[in-house]
């Protein structure tokens, strides 16, 4: 029976409203802690009271005696699991020896989990968690990066950062030694140098980390987890518990924000699984907001920058030297120091990057890892240079514009940053800017206009996508990746709709399940390009398979049709120049008596132009108003022009940029996890004291997508948008603050005390 077409088809480029919007707005989208489970018990984590040292004694008598308590799991009674580093290293683990929750008596970081209390109700577990009496022997710790800096080392060779690729370490065709760079710097007409810093930031997605673990009678493990990669959680647990990968099933269809913190499994996942094994009942473990500060964070950095230019502002030398925090048990490294040298033309560059171990959990990727840190600080230095040279900050960027990656020397597949500068400046009214600081006012407030450049890589990862036409006429398109709020369900629906000529409501996009076709974690802004192109491959293969089946039907109107002669329109296959010759797709699968499906993998090998550089860019313009008496800074206007290739859905795309810009404003003005170095603990570990932008902090934000056709970056010409909105935005705010006040702050965030 043919299914009536009840909703329109969609195409790439349509502003289709999110297909999961009805679920999300009615409370029916189930996040990790939302699934009803029969016989569920509740685990509450007890966090270490010291920063470093060891547990000397645990007295759980009182806790065990509390009503409703089922088990107290500690390192003393935790069942053995596989202990090799290799199994604890998840898909995206940095080099090192990953933390094992409740693995031993040693305390490595503040708020380390030291016990899990499991009870019949959440309230009983929460209460009993306060009754576990733990004694410690404290050891001295170092959490201050300025103190740890002395022990910094180069993470070269660990695979995550390779300064040897950078031009300063290449065969030196330009005689580009450190000493030479220093000499050029000293002799240049204009110089800026200084130490720039970024505070530690915590991702703070609104959803708390949560996992529910259910052991099945057949020894397999079923999990609900908050994760950016269901298969990462699954293989991690399979390794630890010595199971086959297919024995762990992770289901995570919705994720309440990731920003990178959900790339790696967090400790509640293992704790739920081990506790459920011990008590032979399902266990749900949800972190508290305080505990959301006990794991991954964006590492704070000390970034020494020196740049020199000639009379016209042309860059002569760049020294870019950064130290970032890592833990003592893993080496987390980011690409920081090379961003400045890739994006501007300059012949003399010296790069150095080291990491310094501190006594915290291992830092990790947070929205535009490396680039957000690098360019939100370097672009402040560029603004300083503009004032040093005496030219407009935008003019300085244009003078140093390059159309190739200045480190690799490769041309870009596309780079419409010049258009972004022009369109952004035009919309913002940049030409009306008075160059001198403190020259613009609005009543008693000082007005400042600042700008900056953002860059992010266009990444591509292998993804397998399955396309399956079901007998009910619904087309399923599926991969094990995740929609972390970016709109992946929606763009998959659009692409499938366009490819297959099927209405939107007959497409069922599936994500967030470890049993779906193979996918890496969702991050790095690679989702849209990687999944989108793989999906097109799958649809192409499915079309061929459907036509083949259609041709075999008795008296088929398509009997002799070749694939080039047919089109898929309105839920039918039909002959292009004789549309009356058609077969309804639902009728076809019904005749077949079962689904027709294909699975295809899109991999980086499908990319032409492998020898070209591929980036997204933004030119961001910001207005601030500063009340000097109160030290109050308000961002009153933002215009950002983004060059990101082809936009699949302008509505969800714009939201991604808004999200990045808002987080950039947070980086500029609010976000700072403050460490009490005497105690080695983050002090403001809650949402009242760790400030993220709230409604009243955010005025209107104007997002422009500049036209950037790119036939080389990947077949669909997609570049990805999750990261770019934050890169440069904090610098633009900082530069606007300088323009308003004449005060240059080199440390982010720029809180009132740093300005006054």
């Amino acid at each position: 029976m043919a299914t009536a077409l009840s909703s329109p088809t969609s195409r790439i480029g349509d502003p289709l409203s999110r297909v999961d919007g009805r679920l999300k707005t009615t409370g029916l989208a189930n996040y990790a802690a939302d699934f009803p489970v029969e016989g569920l018990t509740y685990g509450v984590v007890v966090s270490a009271a010291i920063t470093k040292g060891r547990i000397t004694a645990i007295d759980a008598t009182a806790a065990r005696a509390a009503p409703g308590v089922i088990e107290i799991v500690t390192h003393e009674n935790r069942p053995d699991v596989v202990d090799k580093d290799k199994v604890w290293q998840d898909m995206v683990a940095p080099k090192g020896s990953p933390f094992r929750p409740l693995g031993d008596a040693e305390i490595r970081f503040a708020q380390q989990p030291v016990a899990l209390v499991v009870a019949d109700t959440f309230e009983a577990a929460r209460h009993a968690a306060t009754l576990v009496d733990i004694r410690y022997e404290a050891a001295s710790h170092v959490t201050d990066l300025t103190e740890a800096e002395a022990g910094a080392y180069n993470p070269k060779g660990d695979g995550t950062y390779s300064p040897e690729k950078s031009r300063s370490d290449l065969a030196n065709p330009l005689g580009n030694t450190k000493a030479h760079v220093e000499k050029v710097y000293q002799e240049a007409a204009h110089r800026v140098s200084g130490r720039y810093t970024l505070a530690p930031e915590h991702h703070n997605p609104m959803e708390l980390f949560a996992s529910t673990a259910i052991w099945k009678p057949d020894g397999s493990l079923f999990i609900h987890d908050k994760t950016q990669g269901a298969q990462n959680s699954a293989t991690y647990l399979a390794g630890i518990f010595g199971l086959k990968p297919e024995q762990v099933h992770v289901v995570a269809p919705f994720m309440g924000g990731g920003f990178g913190v959900g790339l790696r499994p967090q400790y509640q996942l293992f704790l739920a699984a081990i506790a459920a094994k011990m008590i032979e009942r399902p266990v749900k473990v949800v972190m508290t907001r305080q505990q959301m500060f006990s794991h991954q964070y964006r590492p704070n950095v000390i970034y020494d920058i020196a740049i020199a230019a000639d009379q016209a502002g042309r860059l002569q030398a760049i020294r870019s030297d950064c130290v970032g925090a890592t833990s003592r048990f893993e080496t987390f490294a980011e690409n920081i120091v090379d961003w400045c040298a890739r994006g501007y033309r300059c012949d003399n560059i010296a790069l150095d990057y080291r990491v310094a171990p501190v006594d915290t959990y291992t830092p990790g990727s947070m929205r535009a890892p490396g680039a957000a840190t690098a360019l939100n600080l370097f672009e402040i230095a560029m603004d300083e240079l503009a004032y040093e040279v005496g030219i407009d900050p935008l003019e300085l960027r244009l003078v140093n514009y390059t159309s190739k990656d200045e480190i690799s020397g490769q041309p870009f597949t596309s780079k419409a940053l010049d258009k972004a500068y022009a369109e952004g400046a035009e919309r913002f009214g940049w030409s009306k800017r008075v160059h001198a600081p403190r020259a613009m006012t609005d009543g008693r407030e000082l007005v400042g206009w600042g700008m900056a450049t953002g860059v992010w890589e266009t990444l591509f990862q292998a993804h397998a996508v399955r396309a399956r036409l079901r007998p009910d006429g619904v087309l399923e398109v599926a991969t094990a990746s995740a929609d972390i709020g970016t709109g992946t369900y929606t763009i998959m629906t659009q692409i499938a709709s366009e490819e297959m000529g099927m209405p939107v409501d007959r497409i069922d996009a599936q994500l967030g399940d470890s049993t779906l076709p193979k996918a890496p974690v969702e991050g790095g802004s690679w989702g849209a390009a990687s999944i989108g192109n793989a999906l097109v491959l799958a649809c192409t293969a499915l079309k061929a398979k459907l036509l083949k089946a259609a041709r075999k039907i008795d008296d088929s109107p398509l009997a002799n049709a070749a694939i080039e002669q047919v089109e898929f329109v309105g839920g039918q296959i039909r002959v292009k120049n004789d549309p009356a010759r058609a077969i309804d797709l639902t009728d076809l699968v019904t005749t077949e008596g079962g689904p027709i499906e294909v699975e295809e993998t899109g991999s980086p090998k499908m990319l032409e132009a492998a020898k070209k550089a591929r980036n997204t860019h933004q030119a961001v313009f910001v207005e601030v108003k500063v009340d000097e008496q109160l030290g109050q800074i308000r961002v009153t206007r933002v215009v950002t022009a983004v060059a990101a290739g082809r936009i699949i859905n302008p509505k969800t795309a714009r939201s991604q940029i808004l999200g990045g810009v808002v987080m950039g404003i947070g980086m500029a003005l609010h976000e700072e996890t403050m460490m009490d170095h005497r105690l080695g603990r983050f002090m403001n570990h809650n949402l009242a004291e760790y400030h993220v932008p709230a409604h009243a902090d955010i005025a209107d934000i104007d997002v422009i997508f500049v036209d950037e056709p790119d036939h080389e970056v990947n077949p669909l010409g997609i570049k990805g948008l999750g990261e770019i909105g934050i890169v440069g935005t904090a610098a633009a705010v900082a530069n606007a603050i300088f323009h308003a006040t004449g005060v240059r702050v080199r440390d982010l965030p720029i809180t009132s005390d740093r300005l006054l």
Binding site: R22, P67, M206, G485, P693
Partner: protein, 176 residues
């Protein structure tokens, strides 16, 4: 609104001697025996299978748990359920359903006023409370008075658009 009284075993205090409390939730009357330490948020999520209301902090700092109690918006994580005997509670599930969306739910979809969607139930309930209060008459006031609801995905400008849209539909248009 229905007046069925449900006596639900799952919500009795474990030892049976909890505090009796009657709550009308989304039009359905529930006669419950609860331990006094159970918050309204945990009652909804863990005992009444209404997980649409979210927990983001459990400390009144984020607004993810916002519900309407007797028409007023409240952080349900800060409300002990037994203190609200006789109250009428509306959660996101009670505002509308996928087939019968509340105007705010429709406006949030139309304006893409969310990404991950985790803060969304709280934002929508808070917006419903805000409109009921009738205090916000400008976009600035909407922003000020919605500031208890954090959105880490940064959908704020779209949320303001959605709320303004519904206020305009209801003839309470902002005169900014």
């Amino acid at each position: 609104m229905t007046t069925d009284t449900m006596v639900d075993d799952r919500v009795h205090a474990p030892d049976g001697d909890g505090v009796p409390v009657t709550l009308t939730i989304n039009g359905e009357r529930h006669a419950l025996h609860l331990d006094p330490w159970v918050t309204l948020l945990d009652l909804l999520r863990e005992r009444l299978e209404l997980p649409g209301t979210k927990k983001g902090c459990d400390h009144g700092q984020c607004g993810a748990c916002t519900v309407l109690i007797d028409g007023k918006r409240m952080n349900s994580c800060l409300v002990l359920a037994v203190t609200r005997d006789g109250a009428e509670v509306t959660t996101i599930e009670g505002l509308g359903t996928p087939d019968h969306l509340h105007p705010l739910q429709q406006a949030f979809i139309d304006h893409d006023a969310f990404q991950c969607g985790y803060c969304t139930p709280g934002q929508i309930c808070s917006a419903a409370g805000l409109i009921g209060e009738g205090k916000a008459t400008s976009r600035e006031e909407i922003r000020e008075l919605m500031s208890g609801n954090i959105c880490r995905c940064g959908a704020y400008t779209n949320i303001a658009d959605a709320i303004e849209d519904v206020m305009a539909q209801q003839g309470k248009a902002a005169h900014a």
